[in-house]
Symmetry: none
Subunit: 197 residues, 4 copies
């Protein structure tokens, strides 16, 4: 999986060199991990990847684009439950997300992306798109609940997805990913109570 380039990468002609792109993504992730968002600069990534800065700018127009790319590359599947209980499904989703953010670089990367989005409109747009897509995806938990008659039919699945994500995001950006399973379950239960028939 694209281990560190040893001697030197060169151009492979008039087209994008996938090795370079990978090296840059890996370097970005490594820098983010080691130095955090504060030390995450295009300079640092280029140095680390032994890549020229223009090569980065050529393919990722902004820091945000690189962050998003790295985040999606890094992200693994989330447990969306699939039990016959919305509470259980929501609990598993939240716990799974908390674990992933806590134990892989994904959390730091996503925090960086959120930070970047507060000043860079393109990052903001990308983040908004991504968030909507994820909400839609998570909304299926509720839709399934409605379908099997567990959840009231007048509940807006997107609103519930929004509440779930909000809870997770806010814990991420305030450094509270260390919530216990009980605490997470309590949140899931509270929301579940609000929506079951």
């Amino acid at each position: 999986m694209g281990e560190t380039v040893e001697n030197a990468r060169r151009s492979i002609g008039a087209r994008r060199n996938p090795d370079s792109a990978d090296a840059i993504r890996e370097a970005a992730e490594a820098v983010l991990l080691e130095k955090g968002y504060a030390g995450f600069s295009i300079e640092a990534v280029a140095r680390r990847a032994r890549a020229g800065k223009p090569t980065i700018y050529r393919w990722w127009p902004s820091k945000a684009a690189l962050l998003l790319d790295v985040y999606q590359r890094q992200k693994r599947d989330i447990d969306y439950g699939g039990t016959d209980s919305v509470e259980e499904d929501m609990f598993r989703f939240l716990r799974s997300l908390f674990v992933q953010w806590r134990e892989t670089p994904a959390g730091d990367i996503f925090r960086s992306l959120i930070a970047e989005a507060q000043s860079d409109p393109t990052a903001a747009a990308a983040l908004a798109d991504y968030a909507r897509e994820r909400r839609e995806h998570r909304a299926r938990i509720i839709e399934r609940g409605i379908a099997r008659g567990e959840v009231r039919s007048d509940v807006d699945p997107m609103l519930v997805a929004d509440l779930l994500a909000s809870y997770a995001w806010t814990h991420l950006i305030t450094g509270r990913l260390d919530e216990s399973d009980e605490a997470i379950r309590a949140a899931a239960r509270l929301i579940a109570r609000g929506i079951v028939v």
Copy 2:
């Protein structure tokens, strides 16, 4: 309110000059408003306030400290309800916060503070402190509900406050402060249903 200094501010002896402090706070707010978080630098604030950089660093150890100061100075009271319905109280709190963030500089300032906290640990600590204090304050809505028997006594008021704040924060940082009253009420109702007896 913050009239332009005419000739020049000077030292007023071996103690802090409140005029300078005010001028700096005002300049910080103005820069943030005009240039956004991306253009918010100590240099820019100093230039705008006609203050020396060391004067800023003397009293605000970091950009975060200045941001927080400006935010608290800017913040006005929030409607915490006080009706005999937790749903109504929560709705009023959320709507009032959305309005304030949308229609005053407070929203942009708080977004900046959140962004800053993702890279600056002191900002993160300050933000966490502030958030906890606010949560405790908002939890009273629920405590009142429990006291009058409207809310189940096994509900954790801090968890509810957390959910409320999460909803608001996430809408702030994803640029969705334009939710309709109906949407906000739907969120409040959902949570309320989950906690009433």
Copy 3:
């Protein structure tokens, strides 16, 4: 000679841009001339040259290096005589140096360099090197005198060169470059008498 850059200088690739180097040298000289050593700062030079500070630091590690460069760029040839009389050769050397220091920026630049060397060890080293090289060069006047039998063979040419330079330097740093030809010749004659056979 040093026309003003019109639109903007740019990078010309991964190598030094001679235009920038020249612009910086010219700006340094101009600043030194107009503001004197007290007003000679890297900031001021960068401003004047419309160059970034890092560009200056990249090529001149210290103020001293820039000063020395400017001095050598500015310096023109000195009359080292070449007559058949050491007295006449020494006189011409001294007079030529006094004239140059008095009538061109070289004098002020060299004074600055001496001042800088009193606090900056790298400047001190550079100045010591330069001084030694110049002494060796000037010592040839005496060596020629020894060769043609005019000067005693037990005279150390470097000592004589040292005395000559000392006389000039001291007059420079105490603002006594306005010595008459007679005064300069008297000094040359005194030293000559001490060394002829």
Copy 4:
């Protein structure tokens, strides 16, 4: 003599407090010794002396004034010979000066004063005055030589004094105070040969 102030110095009424003046002079000397000219700032002296900056500015209008004061306070007598040989007298003077500059703070202080004089006109004037006075003093060595018939009567004593001082100053400012007695004697002999009958 002027031991470290223990508790605090205070005003002693509407007149200069000699204790403060002494403490400042001592602090100036100590700072110069420990940090060198580069670290010699009014701030540093004030800190060291536990004095207010205005107290320093009140009595010494410039860094140069303080330096000169400290130099004169520090300076001890020089051996002006008094033998019946100008060469011996000049040698003793030079050696004595080299030793003093090398082994006491005087050398560093004087270097600083010379540096300061290159940018500060008041320092330059003070230095020029001081130098002239010292030259006149040293010229007596030659005058005595003329009086006893050892030195040619057409020799200008001030020129000889100038050459002597120049040799010493230049060695001071180029860090060559470590000349051997032989080297110093060679210089004295060369000049002596040029002036004896």
